[in-house]
Each structure stands twice: as structure tokens, then as C-alpha cells.
């Protein structure tokens, strides 16, 4: 079994069962830096100074030409052939609170959320242990690569993992999920992963901003905040941005939280003016970041932010929060998927 040595002995771990370097390290409780786990964000870069790895995705966008020139690898796309000595900067924040595990799960229930988002409930034999806002990898029968999906529910003893997944046109994984997988079918789940989880120790008001299937992790964060004793009575503003009124969702789930309408508020914006007019949408029209700025006003500068959604939405929000309002990046939580 390959033994991985980080920074000449700062950390040492074994890599089992064909794991990549990142997941093996996290399973062993080592703080290897990462965000997406799928080769896109580039946060898990390192240098293999001894030993050989298989590159699972040579064209991964997380590595630039300069990185390749310098011989860097993505730990999330590197499978060791033998013992490996690795150099990278360990990150105390990345030490997993809950160590990820592989387990077999069974599809227990499916229900429609919108015209193109469905909730899939997978059942495991052991308790579902994760932090609100985290994600897991699902290996589906007949689909060659795993996919990362965020949980929408809260950790639970019953072993239920709820995912809200948006159908991707022509997508292999969502095609299998939406059209072929029947209740009772089994899949492999590996998790939890992700650093954009609820921070109950933050003293600030909470703002969750979701678009598309980013609804799932933001619902989990909002549900987690409502359930956490340290956050009782805390102001929570939940924003959802959809293209058309038919895409807007999440209000019903927010409405079931304690304090809804008082300290817990839901706001939605529709970005397509023609669709808004055709459906006589009574709410805000425009990109969701404009609604966030307008609604929060001065409160914006004193909040803790959780974001999940399509990259252009997340980027516009980063511009607004980090560049215009100079909010420190440590107060803005999201995992970068592309």
C-alpha cells in the first residue's frame, strides 16, 4: 500500500483502495488544502518530489501552463503508483471535522422540486455525518466518473443523504439519476467534503445566497443555523436567484424554519425580464447580487456570507462583497465549482 510523506515528514499517511492523494490524506485527518475535489479550482496543487503518480485528468483546468512547467500536480487528480513524497502547504482549516468515508447507499425516494431540480434521498446503514453546507461524491451505476453533490438536509442518525440535483441537458450522471435509477438501486457515496460549511462560532448575521442547484447546500446551512442553539434568534437572510419565475424555489423550506418572517427572511430575484413579465412575476427582476445589495444596505458590511450557485453568480457576488465592500474573504464561504 503506498505511503505518502508530506513535507519530509510533517504528515504521513497510507493510500488505500485506489484513492487519490487528496482523499487518502483527508481520510487520515491530514489538512491537505482543497475546495472542489474535481480538478477545477486548483487549490490542491502540490509537487511530487519522489515517486510516481497517475494523472487522472491531464487537462484539468485547475493547473495552469506555468504549474505544469513547474511539475505541479493536483492531489485530487493524482493516484500514487508507489510511495510518494509530496510538497505542499498544509492548511489547518482543511483538517476534516468529520473524516470522509466510502459507503454503499440505496436510493430511497425521489421528488420534484422545480421543473428541472429533483430531490434524491439516499439511505445508508450508518448515521449520515456531515456539516451543513458540505458535499459528497456519488458513484452511480454505469457512470464512469463520480460527481460531487451537496446535501440539502442536516446530519441525522437515520442515515439519510438528501441531494437536490438539477438536470443537465445531455448529462450522463443526471440522465442516469433522472431517467434510469429507480428506488432501491444502489450507489457508492464518499463524503463528507467541503469547507463552505456553517460557522456557528461567527457572531455575525447570516446571509445565504443560492442560484440553480446551489439551493441544496444553502438550505442545509439555513436549516443548520435554525437548529443550532448558539444561533437562536440570529438574523438570517436567504436569497435565491433564478433565470425565470419557474426556477425560483426554497421559500417553502425556509417558511418551515422557526422565526420565518421575523429574523428569518426569504428574497428572490429573476434575471430574465421577459420571462418575469410573461409570468407576471411580482418580485425583483435582475441579477441576485443587486437584490442582495439593495436589501441588506448597511447590514451587508457586518454579515457572514455563504454562497452556492453558477460561477457567474458567484463571481458577481465576490466582486460586490470583496471588491466593492471590501469584506474579508474569510467571511465569504463557498466551494469553487466550475
Amino acid at each position: 500500500m503506498p505511503v505518502i510523506t508530506v513535507n519530509d515528514g510533517e504528515a504521513v499517511f497510507e493510500c488505500r483502495d485506489g484513492d487519490n492523494l487528496l482523499r487518502a490524506g483527508l481520510r487520515a485527518g491530514v489538512g491537505l488544502p482543497y475546495e472542489c475535489g474535481v480538478g477545477a479550482c486548483g487549490c490542491c496543487r502540490g509537487e511530487v518530489v519522489e515517486g510516481q503518480v497517475d494523472d487522472l485528468w491531464p487537462e484539468a483546468p485547475g493547473l495552469s501552463a506555468r504549474d505544469r512547467r513547474k511539475g505541479r500536480v493536483l492531489t485530487c487528480q493524482s493516484r500514487p503508483q508507489d510511495d510518494v513524497r509530496l510538497h505542499l502547504q498544509l492548511d489547518a482549516h482543511a483538517v476534516p471535522v468529520i473524516r470522509p468515508l466510502r459507503r454503499t447507499v440505496r436510493l430511497a425516494a425521489v421528488r420534484d422540486v422545480t421543473h428541472d431540480i429533483r430531490e434524491f434521498v439516499f439511505q445508508a446503514d450508518a448515521p449520515a455525518d456531515f456539516l451543513p453546507g458540505q458535499y459528497a461524491f456519488l458513484a452511480l451505476p454505469g457512470v464512469p466518473r463520480e460527481r460531487a453533490y451537496s446535501m440539502a438536509n442536516l446530519p441525522n442518525e437515520a442515515g439519510e443523504w438528501h441531494f437536490r440535483i438539477r438536470r443537465v441537458a445531455g448529462g450522463e450522471a443526471t440522465g442516469t439519476l433522472f431517467d434510469h435509477l429507480a428506488p432501491g438501486a444502489t450507489a457508492q457515496l464518499d463524503g463528507p467534503y467541503g469547507l463552505a460549511h456553517l460557522r456557528p462560532d461567527s457572531p455575525r448575521d447570516i446571509v445565504c445566497i443560492a442560484g440553480g442547484s446551489g439551493l441544496a447546500p444553502m438550505l442545509s446551512v439555513a436549516r443548520g443555523a435554525a437548529a443550532h442553539p448558539a444561533l437562536a434568534g440570529r438574523r438570517l437572510d436567504f436569497f435565491y436567484g433564478g433565470r425565470t419565475p419557474a426556477d425560483v424555489c426554497g421559500e417553502a423550506e425556509l417558511a418551515s424554519l422557526p422565526g420565518y418572517g421575523a429574523q428569518v427572511r426569504y428574497h428572490a430575484a429573476v434575471s430574465d425580464p421577459a420571462a418575469a413579465e410573461a409570468a407576471r412575476w411580482p418580485g425583483a427582476v435582475g441579477p441576485v447580487h443587486e437584490l442582495v445589495e439593495r436589501t441588506l444596505g448597511e447590514r451587508l458590511d457586518a454579515a457572514e456570507f455563504y454562497l452556492a450557485g453558477p460561477p457567474p453568480m458567484v463571481e458577481a457576488l465576490q466582486q460586490l462583497l470583496q471588491v466593492t465592500h471590501r469584506i474579508a474573504p474569510e467571511r465569504i464561504h463557498f466551494d469553487r465549482f466550475f
Binding site: 488544502p33 475546495e35 486548483g42 506555468r66 474573504p329
Partner: protein, 111 residues
Amino acid sequence: MKKLCPTADVPTGGCRRIELPDRPPLAVFNLDGRFYVTDDTCTHGDASLCDGEIDCDDGVVECPYHQGAFEIASGRPAGAPCSIPLRVYRVEVKDAAVFAAVDETEAVPCP
């Protein structure tokens, strides 16, 4: 224009972190005798770019935290995971010292 430091304080191919009251720290870079001033804190995380690696050939600074990168002259992101440009400031060199327009509210746009 605000005086930041003597040019002799910033070696060629190096940088120096400058702390001014009531504002985020700045980084002064010297690329082959040309001086540039940017914010010092990476736009992706809480890390000082002055602790990072400067690649003079590419005119790029790499964040020590995740090796995200920025073009020093423009602030443009030059490597994942950085996606938000770094704020850059207009610079003048006068009397062997580096000055920067740190109070200009608008960032210099990426060329």
C-alpha cells in the same frame, strides 16, 4: 501620492509589505527596476503576497497559500483559484522613493 518606502528597500525581483493605518496592507514590487504597488492580501484567502514567490519572467506573484497567481502590473488573476483581480495603484518614483496613489477610490482597470 503617498510615500511608501525608499526604492533601496525593495530588491530587484523582490517585494516589500507596507502597513498604513486604517487600510489593508500594500505590496511594493520591483520587477527589474520597475516598481508596482498592489494590495498585499490575496483576493482568494487571508495570505500575504509578499510571502509568495515572484516570477520575474512572467511578471507574476504566486500566493503562498494555494499558489494562485496574479499579474503584478495589472492585478489580473493568472492562476486558479484566484478569480478576483488584485487592486493595483498608480505609482511614481521620486527622490529614490516609491509613491502610490493609495487614496484613489477607483482601482486602475486591467489593461
